[in-house]
Symmetry: C2
Amino acid sequence: MESIIGEYDYKVESFHLDCTERLSLSVLGNQLLNAAARHAESFGFGREALRQRDRAWVFSRLLIQMDAPLCEFDTYTIRTWVADATRWFSTRNFAIYDASGTPVGYASSVWAMMNLATRKAVDLAAELPDYASLVCPENEAPACPIERSRRSNVSTAEPSLVFRPLFCDIDYNGHFNSIRYIEHLLNALPMKVCRNYPVQRMEINYHIECRYGEVLSVYVAEVGDGEYDAEIRKEDGSVSCRSKIVFDLKR
Amino acid sequence: MESIIGEYDYKVESFHLDCTERLSLSVLGNQLLNAAARHAESFGFGREALRQRDRAWVFSRLLIQMDAPLCEFDTYTIRTWVADATRWFSTRNFAIYDASGTPVGYASSVWAMMNLATRKAVDLAAELPDYASLVCPENEAPACPIERSRRSNVSTAEPSLVFRPLFCDIDYNGHFNSIRYIEHLLNALPMKVCRNYPVQRMEINYHIECRYGEVLSVYVAEVGDGEYDAEIRKEDGSVSCRSKIVFDLKR
């Protein structure tokens, strides 16, 4: 089963759609995580194996790009592989294909491994000595033409949305679930854009964890036509995450 | 494929868990809807067929009872059938089985068919003349020992939660998604209970539709040990839904 490139099949169910009737970005985010988890498990460093060692993978960055929409009952395939591993970070890439095998999107994610007792990052090379052998050589990896954006920069004075992560936003560690960030960020953008156009690209850089009940504010700046920078800030002004969202206004 | 009792298989993925590490009630709600939709489709009155006639099924009531938890990677089977049909309402029941075939829960739902142009209920007998023949005779139906609660009654003066349905809460009709009600109701309950005990039973009676951006308040009354009545009210005081939630404090 284990292969340096994991390949997993999915289907767009009716309740995976957002109100534009396309696969919602948060559901896609969860399916990317699912593919990553299944791939990691096949090599013995999945969530459960790590938890027994008091470790967990945490997101440092997530970047999703969709070039064509996925709609109700579409089947799609996610390929995923480890593209890079440094002492502190692992880069995992994804390519998303429609039923005919045509690429419809890409994603890139950067992960750190956390010591659940200390909440500090773990030295990957020391923790998983064989990890580097899982890195897929670039000439063997599927195409993944996706690049990191320039840093977002939001100087807006007033938040577009103030919310608190509640029961349904929290994961088993008591922290604000990484994928739920996608939903709250989209909730803070202008509805007339979200309602009518697909997200073509979304990047989230995770900086500081959030906990249940914290008051969080989403600040948004329109930086181009259908392009937004957004930040989620805590009450003390510290930035929990920075994000860039680009809509495809032509579709 | 079509059978008067539909049977569909599911699996609990990691991202289907709530922070208690059990299958979240909103994901289960979506899977019940999925089973209902697949069953309805097999008889030609699924969402797409109805939409072409400007009709849609809408929830009038949803009642879920879980007697044993479903956990990560568990497979489960949902059986669903039409238990009753009157002029205005169709009752669809569900039984949920674990991998060994043991029942772990039940659900019952009441649906009306809406004319999407007028937003009024449609006479089911006139709209779908053959519908009555789909009602599963009681002696052929799987056991579904689940009863409607007495009416909830909330006289609490202060709301536990005030929220607005935003982009991610809205369905393609522009209305507050029925299953998202589950999340916002749970978000309004005491976290120390939600965090530690499974929901044993949740009933939602849907009264008035809500739209994007409306200010909604959740009023909660503790009516017993681990038992809550809740109402979602609009700004004008009208009740959008009434709910009863019972936690299993012994698990």
